[in-house]
């Protein structure tokens, strides 16, 4: 019965390197404490296909870089009470946004047409690759965001400080040394 009172926690991976999730796993033994208080209902490291309803807290790693990210971000917002920008890519665009100075079409040509290896025919013959946005944007420019955890990646202490505040239902307040980007 106690299971029902657990916090429904989700983590989402958009345009990022998954480094933030690696750092999340680096919570080490604190993961056991976390598991006692929260259910991980959706995550790249959990086996769930669709983003579930009624999520309490969602940590979003990565910037919004393609139309799938855009859709997922909207779904996350609609189905989560609290959305947290998790790591520099979600907060600032970071490395993912380095392509913003380039034109998307030039970029795709450069990588997929002119690059080494077998050249695919057409830009996306099967229509399965999500189209890139012309610009990579941080999460809060697409949906309202409730808290920010900076860092590339945020170190485990930072994550734990933020997550334990969220588990306790308190606002996230990071100390000065935990607010550094990079």
């Amino acid at each position: 019965m106690a299971k029902k009172d657990k916090i429904r926690l989700a983590t989402v991976w958009l345009g990022g390197c998954s480094g933030c999730h690696m750092s999340f796993l680096d919570l080490d033994e604190r993961l056991i404490d976390l598991a006692e208080q929260a259910d991980l209902v959706f995550s790249p490291i959990a086996d769930a296909k669709a983003f579930p309803p009624d999520v309490d807290v969602t940590l979003v790693e990565g910037a919004v870089a393609n139309i799938d990210h855009l859709e997922l971000a909207k779904q996350v917002r609609a189905q989560s009470k609290i959305v947290v920008s998790f790591g520099d890519c979600a907060v600032t665009g970071n490395v993912t946004s380095l392509r913003n100075r380039l034109d998307v079409d030039d970029l795709l040509n450069r990588v997929y047409q002119e690059g080494p290896g077998r050249t695919p025919t057409g830009s996306d013959p099967d229509g399965i690759v999500p189209a890139l946005l012309r610009r990579v944007v941080p999460l809060h420019q697409v949906i309202p965001v409730d808290a920010y955890i900076p860092g590339c990646p945020p170190d485990p202490d930072r994550i734990w400080t933020a997550v334990s505040a969220l588990l306790a239902g308190e606002p996230v307040r990071l100390e000065e040394e935990m607010r550094y980007f990079g």
Binding site: S97, E176, E177, Y180, F181, G182
Partner: protein
Amino acid sequence: MSVVTLTINDELASANSGQSLLEVIREHGIYIPTLCHMDGLSERGGCRMCLVEVQGMRTLQAACVTEVAEGMVVTTHSERLRKYRRMTLELIFAERNHVCAVCVMNGHCELQAVAAIEGMDHVRFDYLHPDLSMDISHPRFGLDHNRCILCTRCVRVCDEVEGAHTKDVMGRGINCRIVNDLNQAWGSSQSCTSCGKCVQVCPTGALFHKGVSVAEMVKRHDFLSWITLGREKNEWNYTGQPPYYATERRKE
């Protein structure tokens, strides 16, 4: 030199007339952020980080260019000032490309530190992501316009301390750019003495030593006062990094 009395954040403070408000505020152990100010260089008043409220003044005053006056009543950290400092930082971060994770100055950068201190946790404005170049034509140093915040410390140190005036600003508004000589490659500059002072004073990773990788670049804030003291008083003592630089606060 006469002594003046002023009030800073409801506490009485005394100062020598002719001192700048910034100097006095720091002497009294109050931290306010700065980006274009640097001890040993002329003041510019352009970054607007050190704005303070002075009673009776219509506008906010940049502490670095405001002289203390008898009876001045100064507030350094009102809600309004904090908000404006964060917004100014947001504007700077949005202007060019400040991706800390891949910057040579990561962890030693004044801009990064000031953002953390002021609690600027996200940028609401559009990131402009301009397509800017890098000048790595100099054998020892590099200039990355993407990281430049146009504080012009490099321009001033080159002109005022080294006396070469290799660097200056060209263009206007958002198109301002630091140039070497008459907008030529740094490596081809006739006036540059390769002294490296510009690199030392740069608050971000815009100017760097070649051969350093991400998070390796450390800059010395004390060297300017070291040079001036040496020149003027023949005192050659390293005083260590002044504690009121943003990057020093992390180590305390």
